[in-house]
Amino acid sequence: MANIVAIVKMVPDLVEELEINDEGTGLDRDWLRLIINEFDNHAIEQAILLKERDGGEITVIAPEAEGVEDMLFTTAAKGADRMIKLAGDFEEGVNNHALARAFAETAKNHQPDLILTGVQANDDLDGPVGPLVAEYLGMPYVGYISNVTLEEGKAIVQKEYPGGLIGEMEVRLPAVLGIQAGEEPPRYVAISKVRQMMKTAEIDEQEIPELDLSGGITTSRMYLPEAAERAEMIEGDEDEIATKLIAIFKEVGAL
């Protein structure tokens, strides 16, 4: 019976076009579409798998952002027991050091045996959140995890290295794990179930009065990449492009 906390944040949806703010120092958040960090989604799946296997309770914590409530209700529909939204000056985007302090402060109250979070997020500029939370709570951290088994007072985890090598590690609990991939892909949940949760479940709101930004970095300039060399683009309709591609395949000896 583990008490599990999952730490989750919303990140820019990379399918959408990203724009830079007028100051040229950050993303233009007015136009940003946000989605759950995909690695956090894997962390939630891993948390639910552990609960299904060993019992326990799952608390999900996420900072305020566009779409965060729908995301939290979705995790409830999947099997999370408690949802906490951190309220404060998060909407403009804060660094991970500040976020980690807020997560740590809130997670502490739930005396977790295990904290799971995504190994990274696409907008990390000052390192991932997980190891920072671990250090602020004085817990050990291991990242790049793709498999977790709980035993008495410890977790046995599989840590990924380059080339497909795995390090099997023993981690003393309580601990924070940075999840690269859950043992199963994140499950889908019917929208009707999410709607049901919107009616019955409640999101706790936790006020974070002041954000401590120290340890993060100051970005002097943010910009879209200006490629020195770009691919030679092949134009035309489907048939013309196919013909040109086949010519290229022949040229490299693939045909």
């Binding site: 820019p12 990379l14 990203l18 830079i20 993303l27 894997h42 050091h97 980690a100 907008d123 500029l125 000052d126 390192g127 997980g130 190891p131 920072l132 671990a134 250090e135 602020y136 050990p140 951290y141 291991v142 990242g143 790049y144 990924e160 380059p162 080339g163 497909g164 090598l165 795995i166 390090g167 099997e168 590690m169 940075g178 690269q180 892909p185 340890g215 970095i217 970005t219 002097s220 943010m222 910009y223 879209l224 990449p225 060399e229 770009r230 691919a231 030679e232 683009m233 092949i234 489907e238 492009i241 196919a242 591609l245 086949i246 290229i248 395949f249 490299v252 000896g253 693939a254 045909l255």
Partner: protein, 319 residues
């Protein structure tokens, strides 16, 4: 504080990993700016020999049984105590399974600033790649020792290699007891049905393939080309292809004659495994997909609209 740039050397199973050399090359660019030396920090047990290939001014080596293999706790303690003693201008780590576990924790422990995912250093300016390679962020060293994690892309590993073994100085690891993380064993990757790192033609699929059934289309195409299907991470995480087919950070590094990328955006984690391909042809609907910045030829098109005419013409060509 001194002006030296320290680099945490990563090694696994008695081999220095490629990112270590890339970091050394980056550190040399940074040291030009600060006027300091580049110092490799090597932690291990009887691992001093690994220092010989490092293109640094010197090597600081700590020998301890608890450092024989990488574990987060022991590395964090050793690096934190070394920073407190010697206060380098900057400390470089890989943005990897090893470096990321160390850099962030040391940042929080010593209250030092951390810049992550940096791929290039020019005139003291550090450029980080975020949002899957779609956004660049520029920053500078802070007033205190600055921790930096490095991603591949800006430097070649050869630039950080040398045959002139640098001078090795030993330093003492701090007390490494009461460690909360231990390595039980390494598990070698299962051999796949094919070794994609040896294939000369690869048809790579990414998130854009949308469903498991669509993989057949890529396989059909690969068959015509005499190649093999491989993929980026999301396809493997869905369980649609075995891990042995994964290209990138925790997968394989490939250098085929032709890398045909279908619906692959080109996030840095994927690119580091295939950037050295002789020819890259990328088909993607998103004109801003970073894959077009490294591809030889690009097609801004929905792959699903292209596949039928392509297969038809291939059939005809085959005659």
């Amino acid at each position: 504080m001194n002006q030296n740039i320290y680099v945490l050397i990563e090694h696994l199973q008695e081999k220095v990993t490629e990112i270590s050399y890339i970091m050394i090359a980056a550190a040399r660019d940074l040291a030009k700016e600060t006027g300091g030396k580049v110092v490799a920090v090597l932690l291990g047990k009887n691992a001093e020999g690994l220092a010989s290939s490092l293109a640094t001014d010197s090597v600081l080596y700590a020998d301890h049984v608890a450092l024989a293999e990488f574990t987060a706790d022991a590395y964090q303690k050793t690096v934190a105590s070394l920073i407190q003693e010697s206060e380098p201008r900057a400390f470089l780590f890989g943005n990897t399974s090893i470096g990321s576990d160390v850099a962030s924790v040391v940042s929080a422990r010593l209250s030092l600033p951390l810049i992550s995912s940096c791929s290039q250093i020019n005139d003291g300016k550090l450029t980080s790649k975020i949002c899957g390679g779609k956004i660049m962020a520029e920053s500078e060293l802070a007033e205190t020792t600055t921790l930096i994690t490095i991603i591949p892309g800006g430097y070649k590993a050869e630039e950080g290699q040398s045959e002139n073994s640098p001078e090795v100085k030993s330093f003492n690891a701090p007390a490494l007891d009461d460690l909360r993380v231990t390595l039980k064993q390494y598990i070698e990757p299962e051999a796949g049905d094919v070794d994609i790192s040896k294939e000369t033609i690869l048809v790579a699929i990414g998130r854009g393939i949308q469903t498991e059934d669509n993989i057949e289309l890529a396989e059909e195409l690969a068959e015509f080309l005499g190649g093999t299907v491989c993929s980026s991470r999301p396809v493997v995480d869905q369980g649609w292809l075995p891990t042995s087919r994964m290209v990138g950070k925790s997968g394989q590094t490939v250098k085929p004659k032709l890398y045909l990328a279908l619906g692959i955006s080109g996030a840095p984690e994927h690119v580091e495994g295939m950037a050295e391909s002789e020819m890259i042809v990328a088909i993607n609907m998103d004109p801003n997909a970073p894959i077009f910045d490294i591809a030889t030829y690009g097609v801004e098109f929905d792959f699903f609209d292209l596949i039928d005419p392509l297969l038809e013409q291939l059939e005809e060509a085959k005659g």
